[in-house]
Amino acid sequence: MMDVVIPPFERFYAEHRDAVYGHLVRLIGRQRAEDAFQETFLRALQGYPSLRHGRYLRAWVFTIATRVAVDDGRRARPEEPGEVDVESLDELPAYAQLEHLADELPEKERAAVVLRYGYDLSYADIGAALESSEEAARQAASSGVRRLRRRLA
């Protein structure tokens, strides 16, 4: 595939801001989504010049947003309402051990695997992040996992 040129940040931001905001509202509620939104796009700005191509930008920024929401959930006290509904924070360290392997996956599978097993997103959300369907997200994650298993075997 030809490398896709990275668009000016304004275009990237305008294209994905509403989807990212909606994603954060679903994860941590409207009130906390506001700070998380700003943090997400500031982090995106920091990483933006080092992107090598403009493919899967939505999956990339969804991954950042999800990480921001997870960090926010860790800081929030457990009894506080609107706690992160990413269920298995305990499994994150285990996933972290796999992350360097996931780096070698094709872009789309990598995003699906990271969002599914790293952040426990639903396939519907991953589909939105990949700008495709829930079913395509499921397939990308499962073929990514098969590829990882083969590599580990």
Partner: protein, 187 residues
Amino acid sequence: MNVVPEALDHRFREAAAALGLLDVLYDVADTPVGPLLLAITERGLCRISFDPEPERETESLAREFGVRVLREPRSVDPVRRELDEYFEGRRRSFDLEIDLGPRSAFTRLVLDELARVPYGDVTTYGSLAARAGNPRAARAVGTIMNRNPIPIVLPCHRVVGSTGNLVGYGGGLHRKRLLLDLEEAPV
């Protein structure tokens, strides 16, 4: 569908500017010669464009100055203010830092000389070429005027043909006429 609240959108843009994370900040200003895109870097004013379609201009700004291009009205206010004063006839020269970006030495020299042509005065392509050290480069100077990244502030509207005809203008001849009339130039 959730839409980002306007206040939040503004807050992000201002934070990005305040943290110095941007290569280029821009906005579109309404002026008597139509909407103008105004863009700055941390070094100064880097673009004034008559193209009312900012999208097209952000591509070229990204190529020249870096991909972190964001619309941020407040940062551009000093430029907007000076232009307003100019169009109201209250300002004859601009006190703005300029960032020409990656341009050849000759282009810089010519634009530097151009900046010295006073308000209400006109000069010719040939005379500008001579002042930049190459009297035979009138045509090259014409091309440089046509591609002037910062029209109005770098006053290429003050450059005319040797017989006093207006020749051409990147923003359209009617705008050149309007600017010369505003300055009550003798052409």
